[in-house]
Symmetry: C2
Subunit: 381 residues, 2 copies
Amino acid sequence: MNVMTEASTPAGAGSAVPGAGTKIPAPTYEGDFVLDEHLLLECGRTLAGVTLHYAVYGRLNAARDNAVLVCHALSGSALVGSWWPEVFAPGAVLSLDHDFVICINMLGSCYGSTGPGSVNPETGEPYGADFPLISIGDNVRAQAQLLDSLGIHRLRLVMGGSLGGMQALEWAVRFPDRVERAVIIAVAPLNAMGLALNHLQRQAIQRDPEWAGGNYLPQRPPRKGLALARQIAMLSYKSAPLFDERYGRNPNRNGEDPWGLDDLGGGLIGGRFDIAGYLDHQGERFIDRFDANAYLAILRTMDTWDPLHGQGSAEEVFGRIQARLIFVGISSDWLFPAEAVRQFAHTIRAAGVSADYRHMTSDHGHDAFLAEQAELLRLLQ
Amino acid sequence: MNVMTEASTPAGAGSAVPGAGTKIPAPTYEGDFVLDEHLLLECGRTLAGVTLHYAVYGRLNAARDNAVLVCHALSGSALVGSWWPEVFAPGAVLSLDHDFVICINMLGSCYGSTGPGSVNPETGEPYGADFPLISIGDNVRAQAQLLDSLGIHRLRLVMGGSLGGMQALEWAVRFPDRVERAVIIAVAPLNAMGLALNHLQRQAIQRDPEWAGGNYLPQRPPRKGLALARQIAMLSYKSAPLFDERYGRNPNRNGEDPWGLDDLGGGLIGGRFDIAGYLDHQGERFIDRFDANAYLAILRTMDTWDPLHGQGSAEEVFGRIQARLIFVGISSDWLFPAEAVRQFAHTIRAAGVSADYRHMTSDHGHDAFLAEQAELLRLLQ
């Protein structure tokens, strides 16, 4: 793996491709860590033989005080160098010369960590629909065991956007003495519109007969449902101004005519507009790289995240944070609106925590943390 | 039909139920009008035996100068008294004592006018997927023939929201000497985000195997696909603040637990949040009252509407309007953003037309013209 690779690795949200010329760092190591014991999940169930797939970049120094944890978003992987290369650029946030960067695939995912496609050691069968609810806290507690195994007690920085930001904050809450700083981008507990968007993605998969109650065969996944889910997600990752600028009311660039007689699929469907062609393409690309049940598992992780749920007051829960926090809200983000991020930071600050809010102006919507990395980094310096 | 009925008739967008105590006027007549000749459609095809289902309220006066045309939105019907009762309230916009109100079901619909479920007289079979693209202009030209048959040359007012607003404006463009005033609510040519939302609704139906390329049997319609399409539409008809206020992050009011072990549908799905229960309910309600192919037909009518497409410059097309126009934009509408409506009115005014813009402040999103009728009427007085 110790070679420069192309930027084709899944990022997390809308998977923006970094600009041409951006160097893609290769991990110094990529592999699996298996937890010694069952993981007791917050939902009450236990998970046996838990595997975390992870990648590291750079070298851990002798003092073991140069470790940084980067957390990925919904459809991301452990290969942070591939999907967030610009944070490694000279003068940016991370340095391969000085930092030891770790990225761990989320539980529930299909990129190496234990997920619905994994075999349940207690039954010898894949979990499928029986895969339990994994919380962000469950992820973070498992990740802490991996860091223990690497001899890392304290993180100089933990950072992430979207679901990655949920993990970053949860680290600061769960392990106050192990986190120096946390950068939490474009995230707050999901509001009702966000829950609605996730619900419709879930519905798109569930309503595909090929989903088969979650027990589809690997060679016969619910491709149509997952593609539609991804298309709905793409709306929520982007913004209306960006769509207007890029696609407007243009006919699809392949030459289809929305007004034409020469219809695809009969008079009821017609030629596509450019935005429709774009969305279809996004759906098609996604079904070759992601698993429908993993998607459902992580949607549930995302929906249910609220650090205060059943944990006590804001003062009790957030008051124990020792890390300095930086929150970033994105002006055109309507999945996690900037105002919600600002409010969330305010709530945490009110509990006596150092919690700075920075506002990123961008038309790229939620995806801006991947699509406009240079602007994000400027804000973080 | 000449009785007071309950407000259970489809409205058009999100179908808000009028406040208790609102009187539902009954039509003085409800019936069909069949065009004498084939309708030559703008897409180049012809439609034979075109039927318009319509309802009228009040009486046409001797001078025949008290006619008002109200146009409905996507899933609406000719029974305007049932879905927009407050416009008939004493002192509101319309009066059953003084006005003769006509409402005509759109072509492509499933509420009485010719649509994909109608039998094609040339084949003896239902149109199904072969139903052609019907433009807003096609609708308006057919409606003009119905008005001719009633002996009505000039409309004192034509009004509508959403697709109804498209028809109202098109009346003023196509028949400059037949329209005195037009009220055009929450509409402009659909922007890229709107086209995207419609495309995903179309995809939801098309990807349901029961759709069968549009040639499903009436007893076996694509219910799951249509329900999901409706759910996507409901997001676009409402607003994030309204969802937060009404549903927030509450568990579904039926007692499901999003965090619970006691899951519906396995660990991947879980108990629903309240917003999810609401959306599922909306989907279920809709499939009993609407037809999937009709939905597709009207989505295409909506997508393709742009009065300037292939018609000339704004000066040429809008410059011929003689009516006084009032545009209404809704502050929280993200399907047809208020700013787009304002810009559209501005473009038309720049062509020398009397085009007033009024801004409706509401958290109800696009649906506000149905959900907050009293506020709308205040603005129009």
